[in-house]
Symmetry: C2
Subunit: 140 residues, 2 copies
DNA sequence: TTAAAAAAGTTGCTATAACAACTAATAACA
DNA sequence: TGTTATTAGTTGTTATAGCAACTTTTTTAA
């Protein structure tokens, strides 16, 4: 019988919680939650995605995306407009405020990544990433 | 500047979501949520922990533990009693139903672990675990 | 070309997750 | 010993996370 420490999924879960909690505190002063930040990170790379595009890229339920985008709109970081080509679809665009936020947040997330990977080599990270991907495929 | 795929924390986060979602579906027929299952796993190994013990072992906020334990009690899997030595503390004990549930759930979680680690060697798992631990320490 | 199917979003629900502020009980210590 | 600090648990709030069922619009197909 397996004991507590043998479950790798628990290990991953605890690590995710710890990392998410850390970045949550770093982002809090900017009135930005971690998942909201992920959405903005997508938009900073490519503005004008639809909610559906975002849901696919984040591999998340569209329900949550809708609510998170709504929050981002309330905070004034993005603006939604009905797509001209498909009236079902909502295009999500950064506001000036949302674009400006990127200049502050991106250094913070890069610093965070640097901190997290401290003492871990490039090869180890690649290996880690490879194994995690395999696990995601195993659980499909 | 880092791009999307360079953030190892995102990789971990997505993997955790995928694995949690998978086991959630496996446990759903038993009216058991993933985190509730973690609590029961602790109790199956050592019955009679306090809510505070559970919070420490799971490294979670005691608030959530209180609510999850309450749910487990409503479902009839555990029973809480005030500790005789410390009247602030609640002792959490398995009911007959809760103990019986273990016989059904443990094979499922072991099968889950087996599925997740398919095609991954023992050394790779050890290495993974070591790196994850390092990351948790980095984010402390 | 109209009926059926699919797609994009929304609303409602349940379950985490963590913080702040609170009560009650116990421990520390001056 | 009596005040203070700490500890265990609860309540309230905000933010994910995903399922089911729904509306509106677009696409497929008979």
């Amino acid at each position: 019988m397996l004991s507590w420490g043998d479950y790798i999924s628990i290990d991953i879960h605890q690590t995710d919680l710890k990392l998410t909690s850390y970045i949550k505190n770093k982002l809090a002063p900017f009135n930005l939650a971690p998942e909201q930040n992920l959405i903005l990170m997508l938009l900073w790379e490519l503005d004008g995605l639809s909610q559906n595009d975002i849901a696919e890229k984040l591999d998340k339920d569209k329900t949550n995306i809708a609510r998170m985008v709504l929050n981002l709109e309330r905070k004034g970081f993005i603006k939604r407009t009905v797509s001209q080509h498909d009236r079902r679809s909502l295009k999500v665009n950064l506001t000036e405020k949302g674009r400006a936020l990127g200049n502050k947040i991106i250094p913070i997330t890069e610093e965070f990544n640097h901190l997290v990977t401290h003492g871990i080599t490039e090869e180890e990270l690649k290996e880690l990433s490879r194994i995690l991907k395999k696990m995601r495929e195993n659980a499909r």
